[in-house]
């Protein structure tokens, strides 16, 4: 087993963990964290794919690297929006979960 | 000359490692939050400083070296800020309510 495969398996596990947290956690902040873990696992898998594409004297395929950077920034913006909505929700209702009105 | 520099690097880096270890042990073994904080901010900055010192002969001058030094200064600044900041927070926290057991 190589290091690259190892990180690939790690990414797979992170995706599973994030998915689990997203479904099971009742608190929205915890859901946001779980979403970030999930996204990070996905990007890690992408990074592993990039690393497997090392060629032409570059250690990692630059195309996926660029995509990962874009996705990281988008994920950050999404986290900001989610946190802002959560803070409004807490202000308005005093609750930090979406359960009871479902 | 190279040999001497390499020996210097090895000695400095190993010393740095010792300080890092000390910081961690302090974090795990010291009795309360404030002393843990104290042990930590001192030890890890010294450790980093020694590592930087050890690496200086191994990098390209002037930019590589200056970058390393700047980096250490930044870390010192962070340590010098975090100590008082956290210390103050812990202090008020402890006074505002029962300190945690």
């Amino acid at each position: 087993m190589s290091s690259v495969t190892l990180f690939g398996l790690c990414g797979a596990a992170l995706v599973g963990l994030g998915l689990f947290g997203l479904i099971v956690q009742p608190g929205v902040l915890r859901k946001i964290l779980a979403f970030n873990l999930l996204g990070s696992g996905v990007l890690l898998l992408f990074g592993v794919i990039a690393r497997r594409g090392a060629a032409a004297g570059i250690g990692s395929d630059p195309v996926p690297q660029a995509l990962i950077i874009t996705a990281l920034v988008v994920a950050f913006a999404a986290t900001v929006l989610a946190v802002a909505l959560l803070r409004r929700l807490v202000q308005e209702t005093g609750r930090d979960s979406l359960d009871t009105d479902g | 000359m190279t040999l001497a520099l390499n020996v210097f690097t090895i000695v400095a880096v190993v010393l740095g490692l010792v300080f890092f270890l000390a910081g961690t042990v302090g974090l795990l073994r010291f009795p309360d939050t404030l002393t843990r904080l104290h042990a930590l901010t001192k030890a890890d900055n010294l450790g980093l400083g020694l590592v930087v010192l050890g690496l200086l002969p191994q990098v390209a001058w002037p930019f590589g070296g200056l970058k390393l030094i700047a980096l250490w200064l930044l870390a010192l600044l962070a340590g010098a800020t975090v100590g008082p900041l956290l210390g103050h927070a812990v202090w008020t926290h402890a006074r505002g309510r029962e300190p945690p057991p």
């Binding site: - | 490692l17 961690t24 843990r36 930590l40 901010t41 600044l77 956290l86 926290h93 945690p100």
Partner: protein
């Protein structure tokens, strides 16, 4: 030389990993944060060693960025808890929480 530096990087990381135990253990938020701080400094040292050992472009810059931002977690921790929030303090030490 690079072999030695790699081993040294590994040792620093190992030490730092021990510090992670403190993050998990707490018991107060400040303790967790201090441990995260140690992780930061140690990580910077490990990166420096790694960067010099493997001569990879940009790793020193990465360490520089991490050192630059090292104080941010503590700043956020302290300042985001304004007196008004103390009423709604969520980061109460676990000792006060029901098991």
């Amino acid at each position: 030389m690079s072999e030695f530096l790699l081993v040294a990087a590994l040792c620093v990381l190992g030490t730092v990993a021990l510090g992670l135990v403190a993050i998990l253990r707490g018991p107060t938020p400040a303790d967790r944060l201090s441990a995260a701080q140690l992780l930061g400094t140690g990580g910077v040292a490990a990166l420096l060693l790694l960067g010099v050992a493997t001569d990879t472009a940009g790793v020193t810059d990465l360490a520089l960025v991490l050192a630059l931002l090292a104080a941010f977690a503590a700043v956020a921790f302290v300042t985001q808890r304004t007196p008004a929030d103390v009423v709604a303090e969520p980061a109460s030490p676990p000792a006060q929480e029901p098991e």
